[in-house]
Symmetry: C2
Subunit: 163 residues, 2 copies
Amino acid sequence: MTNHQFYMRAAIEEAKKAGAIGEVPIGAVVVKDNEIIASAHNLRESAQDPTAHAEHIAIRKAATVVQSWRLEGCRLYVTLEPCVMCAGSIVMSRIPHVIYGARDPKGGCAGSLMDLLQEPRFNHRANVETGILETECSQLLRDFFKNIRKQKKISRTEDNTNA
Amino acid sequence: MTNHQFYMRAAIEEAKKAGAIGEVPIGAVVVKDNEIIASAHNLRESAQDPTAHAEHIAIRKAATVVQSWRLEGCRLYVTLEPCVMCAGSIVMSRIPHVIYGARDPKGGCAGSLMDLLQEPRFNHRANVETGILETECSQLLRDFFKNIRKQKKISRTEDNTNA
């Protein structure tokens, strides 16, 4: 297992925690000096907080740990490509290195819809690596949404039976 | 005074609170049904939190008040054009109406550097109005940075005198 895979696996474990409580399974960890200093998973629904995305929470936790809003020398691992807000929080926290698992063609802003982490007009750019344990990261999401569709189908069938 | 000016003035009062504690003076309020449901000011340095921008905090507070991550029917007033992260949090919270005071040609992502609030590929777009009490909003920032430059000059002069 490579270093990147090791930390991405930790992010996947976080993603599973989200899935277990009915949240879209996305997880993230922040690493500094080869140590995980912050871990988080998506909590948007549980917290009813529009900003409670996995990597956004992990960034805030990491800032608390290093006691600085500048996360220089840190690496962010996240199972899904960051959205516009999370790409923004990466820029704001000056994280120099971002590694993500699955691409998000519908909302990803680190190479898919747009590339905010390489935007020359911002005062910070991050190196980005993709595709680390991509299949596992994608499969978690696919299984989650497949299960939701299945639940909805059962619910509709029950409604029709009771009607 | 128009409605917009009334609420922008409340955002300016928040900005002044930030300035008073040495933070870049930026303030924001979230309004629903013509009532201010959340107010906040920039706390990045005090909290050492890269996400602690005025409008970002106001959005999180507003979500707590309405007990939903969806801030439908809300208006956000902010003294300075939102950055990439805050534009992202507006998209994520589905705020339909954003009013800002001063433009930010260096980092603004609601019309200056780019226009993330009108991006057709995102699943949410916000109406944006600009220039409300623009002079006052800009002046606050200009005075703040002028004062910082002055302090630095005094500090340098003292260093040279003591050398």
